[in-house]
C-alpha cells in the first residue's frame, strides 16, 4: 500500500485539441523533476502520461489527468468523458488501432498506446463504460524513495 500523497495536481485535457497534445505531460515531467524524482521513474511516468493524454485528445470529448506523488510511487489517473472502449482486451493488443488518418499523420495511432502505458507502469488498470468514458489508472514505483 502506497503512503499518503505529498503532492497532487489536476490538469484538464480537451478532446480533439491536437495542437496542445503533450503539453500537460511536459508539465508533469517538469514537476516530477522539480520534486527531485529519479530519471527512470520520471521518464516512465512522462511516457505513460503522454500516451494517456493523447488517448483523451484522440478519442474522448474531454478528460482530467490527476497526478499524485507519494514517497513510494507516482500515481496518474486519467478520467475521460467519451465513447468508451468496447473491447478492452482487443485495445490492449499491440498494433490494434481505430485511429483516423489525422492521428496517424501526427505519428500516433499505431496501436501502442494502452500497451505502452502498461509497459511503463508497475500497476495499470483500465475501466470503461460505453457511451460514458474511460478511466486509466497507472502507478509507477519510485526508485530510491523520497528525496
Amino acid at each position: 500500500m502506497a503512503g499518503e500523497a505529498v503532492f497532487r495536481q489536476e490538469f484538464a485535457v480537451k478532446g480533439g485539441d491536437f495542437s496542445h497534445g503533450g503539453v500537460v505531460s511536459c508539465r508533469i515531467k517538469d514537476l516530477l523533476k522539480e520534486i527531485g524524482l529519479d530519471d527512470r521513474s520520471v521518464r516512465r511516468a512522462a511516457i505513460a502520461s503522454y500516451e494517456a493524454e493523447m488517448n483523451v485528445i484522440m478519442y474522448a470529448w474531454h478528460g482530467r489527468v490527476n497526478l499524485s506523488v507519494s514517497p513510494e510511487e507516482i500515481k496518474i489517473v486519467v478520467d475521460d468523458e467519451g465513447p468508451g472502449i468496447p473491447d478492452i482486451e482487443m485495445a490492449m493488443t499491440e498494433g490494434f488501432s481505430t485511429a483516423t488518418t489525422e492521428m496517424r499523420e501526427l505519428g500516433f495511432g499505431a496501436g501502442m498506446g494502452l500497451p505502452n502505458m502498461k509497459k511503463n507502469s508497475d500497476s495499470f488498470r483500465v475501466t470503461s463504460k460505453i457511451g460514458r468514458g474511460t478511466r486509466l489508472e497507472m502507478r509507477i514505483r519510485r526508485a530510491g524513495g523520497a528525496p
Partner: protein, 116 residues
Amino acid sequence: MILKDVLTLLDGEVLTTGCGLSFECQKVFASDLMSDVLAFSEPGALLLTSLANPHTVRTARLADVAAVVFVQGKRPGQEVIDQAKAMNLPLLITGLPMFLACSRIYLFMKDGAGGR
C-alpha cells in the same frame, strides 16, 4: 560519434543555433511513428525522423531523446525550432532520405570515420 560528426556525415544543417553539437551519440533510433519512439527508444538516443511537427519535439522531450535529425529535407516550422531551442534540444536537417541517412550513420558507427 558526436553530433558534429552526424552533421558532416549527412551534409546536414543545424536548425537550433546555440545548442551544442558535442553530445556523444551512442544510440540511434529511426521512426516516423512517435508511438514507436515512446515504446522502443532508449533515453539519450539520437532520433531520425521525417515527421516535422510539434509532436516530434514534445515526444523527444518526454522520451529523453538527446537530438533530432529531420531527414528528406522535412523542415519544421519556426515554432517547433523555438520550442526545441527552449529545451536545449539540438535539431538538424538533411536532404538525404531515411535509408541513406541511417546507412551512413550505421557505417560510421561500425567502422569509424572510414565508413563514410
